[in-house]
């Protein structure tokens, strides 16, 4: 018989090794991109227009494109997502209807992004005649992030102590007043965490954006203009072999934004937890 203590030591070592390896991958990916890109990122790169298809110049229009597209998709999806969550938790009881709605949201969450891309292309771009535009792109992305927002908002709303609702009702508040003045403000950090997650997903998405928002490298003039996001720009730079330097620099800006978003949502979550327990 092998000594169980010995087995334990071996097992723990292996487990630790696997964890270290995972962390090493993360460090490597971020380090690799930053080490090659950071040197080429400066204010000029961020604020100037690209020249020669991105071989030279900056990435200003793609930053604007990314900002507008992801913000707009959140603005479209958030009211629907939060509204659905409010309905499911506050306005109805567990029933066949809520189960069907949750099932629908789960199915939607499982659909691969390329399918959203196909759908956005055939529905918004072609059938509705919206062409490749900010509007088509953000609507399609909104479809894509809707389930995430529903789920996280639901969790956040559920975690608001039930007693708050009792208090609010006993003080003569209507259901909607209670939701608006007590439930939502207290669920806000949790809801924001979900929104930040979705924002990260919109920013990182490529296939859907190419299919629905196009890849025009100009600063958009209206919601019906096509745009190019940073992810798409990075993809095109890297794929067309236009400029590896610019590709790394774009990826650097992209990763730093994602990092910032993650930090903000982590901070929100911590604040949320400490507020609830304290």
């Amino acid at each position: 018989m092998i000594n169980p203590r010995f087995t334990q030591v071996i097992a723990v070592l292996l487990l630790a090794l696997a964890t270290l390896f995972t962390l090493a991958i993360l460090v490597f990916i971020i380090g690799f991109i930053l080490s090659k890109g950071l040197a080429h990122v400066d204010i000029d790169f961020i604020l100037s227009n690209p020249e020669d298809m991105g071989r030279a110049g900056g990435i200003y229009p793609t930053i604007i494109g990314t900002l507008i597209l992801s913000t707009l998709s959140i603005l479209i999806a958030a009211p629907f997502g939060i509204g659905t969550a409010v309905f499911l938790t506050e306005y109805t009881r567990e029933s066949r209807v809520t189960r069907i709605i949750r099932f629908g949201a789960d199915c939607l969450a499982g659909i691969p992004s390329i399918i959203f891309g196909l759908f956005g292309f055939i529905f918004f771009v072609t059938t509705l005649g919206m062409s490749w535009s900010i509007l088509s792109g953000s609507l399609t992305l909104a479809f894509m992030i809707l389930p995430t927002i529903i789920r996280t908002s639901e969790e956040a709303i559920k975690s608001v102590p039930y007693a708050y609702r009792d208090v609010s009702f006993s003080l003569g508040a209507t259901l909607w007043q209670t939701v608006r003045k007590v439930v939502l403000p207290n669920a806000l950090p949790g809801i924001l965490t979900g929104i930040m997650l979705s924002l990260g997903r919109s920013i990182g998405e490529t296939a859907v954006v190419i299919f629905t928002a196009g890849s025009s490298l100009r600063t958009p003039q209206s919601l019906f203009d096509s745009i190019r996001t940073m992810s798409v720009h990075f993809y095109i730079l890297a794929r067309e072999g236009l400029s590896n330097e610019k590709a790394y620099a774009t990826a650097t800006v992209l990763i730093i934004s994602i990092l910032a978003i993650n930090l903000i949502s982590y901070w929100l979550m911590i604040r949320f937890i400490s507020k609830r327990s304290g």
Partner: protein
């Protein structure tokens, strides 16, 4: 007046609550309308079981791509599951809470990195390594599997951590009181109790792997063949859609939507499996 306000808010919320279902319905309707007639036109057998894909010559067989998707996904599981599971056990059982609080979000950051960045690193770093040290063209099942395995790590990790944490402390105490070591406790008491949660996590990761597009296009090589070894290049269903969508018209475009239908079917089956195993978990605890 006020009562009317409350009611109209409720009605508005009911309408909003059906947005997710409406979205799902719209997506299914448009993909199916565009794809299904094509499948029946050229015949299910010709479409699903032939691996002859030459859209210009009117040959639309996606068998090689179905196999490609499955291979790549299987590879991702082989890479991602042991790492993810080991990491989850270590983080949940052996690390103090405060360290976990730092490391877990760091690992979740992996999930936030855009897939094109993964793909790019696959092309720049991984594929040359495979070509030079193992062989083949580099852009291969192996490269795609490793990249996808890394991409699904965060999913597997966080769900596994949650389900390990959800195992009641009494299970562990039971094992400890019988004189088991920490490791024995884990593999005799904790893991079996967390099993269905972990499986659900793996299935969700699987769904992510099979649905991933950009990273796979970049590293899988996209050849339409039935692969003979992990070093061969393959094309997945998702890659097929994204590669040719820009050019496709008429039959060709319908064929790509039909590819989407097949992809959806595979995902639905996976989701169903995940739901069942999550339900099992809930029943047990």
């Amino acid at each position: 007046m006020k009562i009317f306000g409350e009611n109209s808010i409720k009605n508005l919320l009911i309408v909003i609550a059906f947005s997710a279902l409406t979205a799902l319905f719209l997506i299914l309707a448009f993909i199916l309308l565009e794809g299904l007639p094509f499948i029946f036109n050229i015949g299910i057998k010709n479409f699903l079981l032939s691996s002859d894909w030459q859209p210009m010559a009117g040959k639309y067989g996606i068998f090689a791509m179905i196999v490609g998707s499955l291979w790549v996904t299987l590879g991702a599981i082989i890479v991602g599951v042991p790492l993810g599971l080991a990491g989850a056990i270590f983080l949940a059982e052996f690390l103090p809470r405060w360290m976990m609080r730092i490391i877990k979000p760091a690992i979740e950051l992996l999930a936030g990195i855009p897939s094109v960045v993964y793909g790019f690193i696959g092309v720049m770093v991984l594929a040359p390594l495979i070509r030079d040290y193992i062989g083949g063209p580099g852009l291969s099942i192996m490269a795609a599997s490793i990249i996808l395995g890394i991409m699904i790590l965060p999913t597997i990790l966080s769900i596994s951590i949650d389900s390990i944490k959800a195992v009641p402390q009494s299970y562990r105490e039971g094992a400890f009181s019988l004189g088991a070591t920490h490791w024995q406790t884990i593999h005799m008491a904790t893991l079996p109790a967390a099993k269905s949660g972990i499986i659900a996590g793996i299935i969700l990761g699987l769904g992510r792997a099979i649905g991933e597009t950009m990273a796979v296009i970049m590293v899988a090589g996209n050849a339409v063949i039935l692969p003979g070894s992990p070093l061969d290049s393959v094309r997945t269903l998702t890659a097929n859609i994204a590669l040719e969508m820009g050019y496709a018209t008429g039959m060709h475009r319908q064929a790509l939507f039909a590819t989407g239908v097949v992809l959806l079917l595979i995902i639905m089956v996976l989701n169903y499996a995940a739901t069942i195993s999550i339900r099992n978990m809930n029943r047990k605890v």
